[in-house]
C-alpha cells in the first residue's frame, strides 16, 4: 500500500506531470514554430512575439513575466548575440532559472507559468528563461484566525511567498518540499511539506498516494483539496486543518504533521488533525500555562453549552417540568405564558434567526454588517419578546449558545457545532432528555469512528495516550509537554539515528 517515497522529487522544482502529454518536436523554422505555437495557445491577446533579429525570436505572455529583467538582462544580450545556437544563448544569459527544451507542450506550459521562450532559426530547441513575476497582495494579518499575542502575519495566495514564509520560520535542511500538479484544466501546483525524521513516513505516503490518485479537472482552493483527500467525506466534522497562520502551520510541521500548500489559496492544510486540536489555538502556547489551561477548558465548556443547552431547555420545558426547581420555574413559566408556540418551534425559529444574522453578517461589507447586528440583535430580539412570539429567557439561552459557538478557534469546527444543534433540538422536542442522550451517544460513536489520515480522531483521549494529555484540553507548563504527539510521531524507536541517517542520505545526494 505504501510506496517508497520518491527521493528525486524532494527539494526540486521540477514540474511533475502525472500523465505526460504527447511529445511534440519543436519546428526548426521560425515561421512554422510560431504557427504551431499560436495554434497551441489559440493566439491570445496577451501573447507577445518579438523579433530580435532575423533569426532570434522571443515569445512570452504579457503580465506574467518580469519586464524589468527582460529589458535589462535578456534583451541587451540577445541583441549582441545575433543568430547564436540555443546552447550559447543559455550560457550567456545571466538568469538562474534557465533551461533548454526540445519539446513543445512542456515549453508552452512553462510559458503559461511565466517564462520567456527564445527560438533560434534552424535549431529545434528552445531556451526557456523563467522570469515569472507574480501579482500578489502583500502579507497582511490573518483575518479569520486573529490572536492577541504572537506573530501577525498570514499566508497570501502565492505559493512561492508562502513557502518562503515557512522556510523563514523553519531553517532546517530536513524540511522537505514535494511538488505536485493537480487539475487537468487549471494545472494548479501544490507543495507537500514535512520535516523528514519528525513526520511519520506512513502519513507522508498516504498523502502522496491520495493526491496522486485524484483525478480532477480543476482545483481552485485548498479547502476543496482537503475535502477530496480526507478520510470520511460523509462526516460533518473537519478532519484536516485549514489555517492561514504560518506560525500555526510551522508548529504543526514541527510536531510531526504533514502540510499542504496550494497555489492560489491563502489557506494551508495540516494533517493528521484531531478533534481536540481543533479547539486549540497557537496563542495558547504564548500565554502563561494557567491562563492557557483556563481558556482551553472554557472553550470545551463553551462547546458543550453551545451544543446541548438549547436542547436541554427544550426538553425540560416540553417534558420534564419536574426537573426545574420551583423558584426557577416561576420566571420561566411567566416568560412563556403568552408564547403561543411549543418550545421546539420557538427554539428552532430563534436558532434560524441567529443563523440568518450570522450569514448576513458574513456576506455583507463590514460597515453594513454592524447595522445588521444592531437591527437583528437588538430590534428583532426586543420586538420578538414584546410581541409575545418568544420568551426572553430563550433569547438569553440562544444568544449564549451562539456566543459560545463563536469561541471555537476554528471556523469550520464552529460551523459544525452550530449546525449540530438543529437535529438535537428536534430530538429533544420529540423525546426529551432521552432524545438528547441519543444524540449524545450518537455523537460520541460518530467521533470515535472518525480518523484523520488513518490516525484516530479522538486521540489523545481515546485511545488514551496519557503522555499527550498535558497538551490536550489543558496546557501544562512547556517542559512537561512532549513536542510530538504520539498521533503524528515517526514510527521509529531510535529517532535520533534515523535523523542522522536521513541527513547523511541527503548530503550524499
Amino acid at each position: 500500500m505504501f510506496r517508497e517515497p520518491k527521493k528525486n522529487a524532494t527539494n526540486s522544482n521540477e514540474q511533475q506531470n502525472k500523465e505526460e502529454p504527447e511529445k511534440l518536436p519543436i519546428p526548426a523554422s521560425k515561421r512554422e514554430f510560431l504557427d504551431v505555437l499560436k495554434e497551441k495557445v489559440h493566439s491570445p491577446a496577451d501573447l507577445v512575439i518579438k523579433n530580435i533579429s532575423a533569426t532570434v525570436t522571443i515569445v512570452y505572455l504579457d503580465f506574467l513575466i518580469d519586464g524589468k529583467i527582460l529589458n535589462e538582462q535578456i534583451l541587451p544580450i540577445l541583441e549582441k548575440e545575433q543568430s547564436a545556437p540555443p546552447k550559447t544563448i543559455k550560457e550567456k544569459l545571466p538568469i538562474a532559472e534557465i533551461d533548454l527544451s526540445a519539446e513543445l507542450n512542456k515549453s508552452v506550459l512553462e510559458m503559461l507559468i511565466g517564462a520567456v521562450l527564445i527560438h533560434s532559426e534552424g535549431h529545434s530547441e528552445l531556451v526557456i528563461a523563467k522570469i515569472s513575476s507574480y501579482q500578489s497582495r502583500g502579507l497582511s494579518a490573518p483575518e479569520n484566525e486573529s490572536q492577541v499575542i504572537g506573530s501577525q502575519v498570514g499566508f497570501n495566495e502565492n505559493l512561492a511567498t508562502n513557502i518562503s514564509l515557512i522556510r523563514r520560520y523553519i531553517t532546517n535542511p530536513n524540511l522537505c518540499n514535494e511538488k505536485f500538479t493537480l487539475g487537468k484544466d487549471t494545472m494548479t501546483s501544490l507543495s507537500v511539506l514535512y520535516i523528514d525524521g519528525i513526520a511519520s513516513e506512513q502519513h507522508v505516503n498516504t498523502i502522496r498516494q491520495r493526491i496522486e490518485d485524484l483525478d480532477i479537472s480543476d482545483l481552485l482552493d485548498s479547502a476543496v483539496l482537503s475535502e477530496l483527500i480526507d478520510d470520511n467525506s460523509f462526516s460533518m466534522f473537519p478532519q484536516l486543518l485549514l489555517t492561514e497562520r504560518p506560525d500555526r502551520f510551522c508548529d504543526g510541521l514541527l510536531s510531526g504533521k504533514v502540510g499542504i500548500v496550494v497555489n492560489g489559496s491563502s489557506m494551508a492544510i495540516l494533517c493528521p488533525y484531531t478533534f481536540i486540536e481543533f479547539f486549540q489555538s497557537r496563542e495558547d502556547q504564548n500565554l502563561r500555562w494557567q491562563i492557557a489551561t483556563f481558556i482551553r477548558l472554557l472553550r470545551f465548556m463553551a462547546m458543550i453549552i453551545s451544543i446541548f443547552f438549547t436542547p436541554i431547555y427544550v426538553a425540560a420545558l416540553t417534558f420534564h417540568y419536574e426537573v426545574i426547581p420551583q423558584p426557577l420555574l416561576v420566571p420561566l413559566s411567566e416568560s412563556r405564558a403568552i408564547v403561543p408556540f411549543p418550545p421546539i418551534i420557538e427554539a428552532l425559529v430563534l436558532e434560524l434567526i441567529i443563523e440568518l444574522l450570522r450569514e448576513a453578517g458574513a456576506r455583507l461589507p463590514t460597515k453594513v454588517g454592524q447595522t445588521i447586528g444592531i437591527v437583528g440583535g437588538i430590534v428583532l430580539g426586543t420586538a420578538a419578546v414584546e410581541a409575545g412570539i418568544t420568551s426572553n429567557i430563550l433569547i438569553i439561552i440562544i444568544a449564549l449558545c451562539a456566543l459560545a459557538s463563536f469561541t471555537t478557534p476554528n471556523y469550520l469546527m464552529g460551523n459544525v457545532i452550530r449546525i449540530l444543534r438543529f437535529p438535537i433540538i428536534i430530538l429533544a422536542g420529540f423525546w426529551g432528555f432521552f432524545g438528547v442522550m441519543l444524540a449524545f451517544c450518537f455523537l460520541i460513536i460518530h467521533l470515535l469512528r472518525q480518523s484523520s489520515l488513518g490516525a484516530p480522531y479522538m486521540a489523545p483521549i481515546y485511545p488514551p495516550r496519557w503522555k499527550d494529555w498535558p497538551d490536550s484540553f489543558i496546557r501544562m507548563p512547556l517542559p512537561f509537554i512532549s513536542r510530538q504527539s504520539v498521533n503524528s510521531r515517526a514510527q521509529s524507536n531510535n529517532q535520533e539515528t534515523n535523523e542522522n541517517l536521513a541527513k547523511e542520505e541527503k548530503v550524499i545526494r
Binding site: V323, L438, L448
Partner: protein
C-alpha cells in the same frame, strides 16, 4: 491448533484499556435496584454480601485469566473446541452465545422498563428498542476499537453520578447498619448469590483477552476494575442502607433511583430523570460487548461479516422484545438469567480451568513420551 485466532498487532489494545472496559461492562441496569434482592436475604448486612460477591468475582476472574493464559492467542470458544473436541465444544459454544444473547436481551428489557416507569410511561417499547439497536449497530460496525471507545467514554462521562450518590447522606441514619453480623452466614451468602445479576459483565474478558497487547498486565487491570466497581456497589448499598429502612428497601424496586429523588440542587430537582436518560450511555457498552462476544462465537460456526451479524442479531432482538411486556415477566427473565449467569460465570470457569490445565499436563506428558 487450527482454531487459533489470527490477530494483527494493529488490532490489539493496550492492557490499561481493560480497566475501563471491565468497569463499564459490569455497571449496567442491575445497579438501579439490586438493593431489594440483596436485602431480602441479608438484611442490613447486605453490604457484607456485596463484598463477598466481589471477592468471588475476583477469584473467578483469576481462574478465567489463568485459563486464557494457557492459550495465549485464543478465546473461550477456541478453548472449548480444543478441550471438548469439535462436537461437544460446539454445543458449549452455542450455550455461551445464547448466554450473551440473553444478557443483551435482559439489559435492554430492564432499561426499557425503567424508562417507561420513570420518564415516559407512554413511549413505545419497540421505539426504545429500535433506537438502542441503531446505536449498537452504529458502534458495532465501527469495529472493536469503536466499541472499546464507547466503554471508555461511558466510564469517563459517567463518573459524575458517583458524586450524586453521596448527596442523600445528610439524611442518613447510621444506626441502620447495626448490629453488625445481625444475620447468619447463610443469609449473607444468599445475598451474595443475589448479586449475580448485578455483578456479571466481567466475563467479556473471555473473548477480549486475545486482543490485549501486553498479556501479562491484563490481570492487574481487570482486578483493578473489579475493585473500582466494588467501590461503586459498596457506596450505593451503604448509602441506601443508611437512608432507607430495611422494610422500605424490600419494597422498593429501584432503590438507587428512589435515592436520587431526594436530591435538590439549586438549578435541578428530580435529578433521577436526567440520570435515567443518561444511563443510555452506561448500558451501551454492555450491549456492544455482549453482542460482540456473541459474534465471536457465531464466527466459529460460520464466517459471517460483522455487519451482517449485527443486523440479523438486531432484528432477532427486536422480534424477541415484542412478547415480553409486563413487569412480572421481566422479573422472571432476570431471575432466570441470574441463575444461568451464576452457573456460567461463577462455577463453570473454575471447572474449565481444571480441565484445561489437566489437558495441558496430558499434552506435555504426551510430547515428552514422543520425544523419549
Amino acid at each position: 491448533m487450527k482454531s487459533t485466532l489470527q490477530i494483527g498487532n494493529d488490532e490489539k489494545f493496550n492492557a490499561s484499556l481493560f480497566f475501563f472496559v471491565i468497569a463499564a461492562a459490569q455497571v449496567g441496569v442491575g445497579i438501579h435496584g439490586f438493593q431489594r434482592v440483596v436485602v431480602k436475604d441479608a438484611g442490613h448486612d447486605a453490604w457484607i454480601s456485596v463484598i463477598l460477591a466481589a471477592l468471588f468475582s475476583h477469584i473467578v476472574v483469576f481462574f478465567m485469566i489463568k485459563t486464557l493464559e494457557l492459550y495465549p492467542s485464543n478465546d473461550l470458544y477456541g478453548i472449548h473446541l480444543d478441550i471438548f473436541g469439535k462436537f461437544i465444544g460446539s454445543i458449549v459454544n452455542i450455550i455461551y452465545v445464547l448466554y450473551c444473547t440473553f444478557a443483551f436481551y435482559s439489559v435492554i428489557k430492564n432499561y426499557i422498563e425503567v424508562i417507561n416507569t420513570w420518564v415516559f410511561p407512554d413511549l413505545s417499547q419497540s421505539f426504545i428498542t429500535t433506537v438502542l439497536l441503531i446505536l449498537v449497530i452504529y458502534a458495532f460496525t465501527g469495529g472493536l476499537r469503536v466499541m472499546l471507545g464507547v466503554c471508555f467514554f461511558s466510564f469517563m462521562t459517567g463518573l459524575w453520578i458517583l458524586i450524586v450518590v453521596y448527596m442523600p447522606l445528610k439524611y442518613a441514619h447510621y444506626n441502620h447498619l447495626l448490629p453488625l453480623f445481625g444475620h447468619d452466614i447463610t443469609s449473607i451468602f444468599k445475598g451474595a448469590y443475589s448479586m449475580t445479576f448485578t455483578i456479571v459483565g466481567f466475563e467479556v474478558i473471555n473473548t477480549l483477552y486475545p486482543y490485549a497487547k501486553e498479556k501479562n498486565k491484563v490481570q492487574k487491570y481487570v482486578h483493578l476494575a473489579l475493585l473500582c466497581t466494588l467501590f461503586i456497589y459498596l457506596s450505593v448499598i451503604l448509602v441506601s442502607l443508611v437512608y432507607f429502612s430495611e422494610a422500605q428497601l424490600e419494597r422498593t424496586l429501584w432503590a438507587t433511583l428512589t435515592l436520587f429523588t431526594v436530591i435538590k440542587l439549586p438549578f435541578i430537582e428530580r435529578i433521577e430523570i436526567i440520570i435515567i436518560c443518561f444511563w443510555t450511555i452506561i448500558i451501551l457498552p454492555n450491549l456492544c460487548l455482549f453482542a460482540w462476544s456473541a459474534y465471536r462465537g457465531v464466527k466459529r460456526f460460520k464466517n459471517v461479516k460483522g455487519t451482517t451479524f449485527i443486523w440479523l442479531f438486531s432484528i432477532l432482538m427486536f422480534i424477541a422484545n415484542i412478547p415480553m411486556q409486563s413487569r412480572t415477566q421481566i422479573d422472571d427473565i432476570n431471575n432466570f438469567f441470574a441463575q444461568i449467569a451464576f452457573v456460567i460465570v461463577f462455577l463453570y470457569p473454575i471447572l474449565l480451568y481444571i480441565m484445561a490445565s489437566l489437558k495441558n499436563v496430558l499434552r506435555k506428558g504426551g510430547r515428552k513420551n514422543e520425544k523419549g
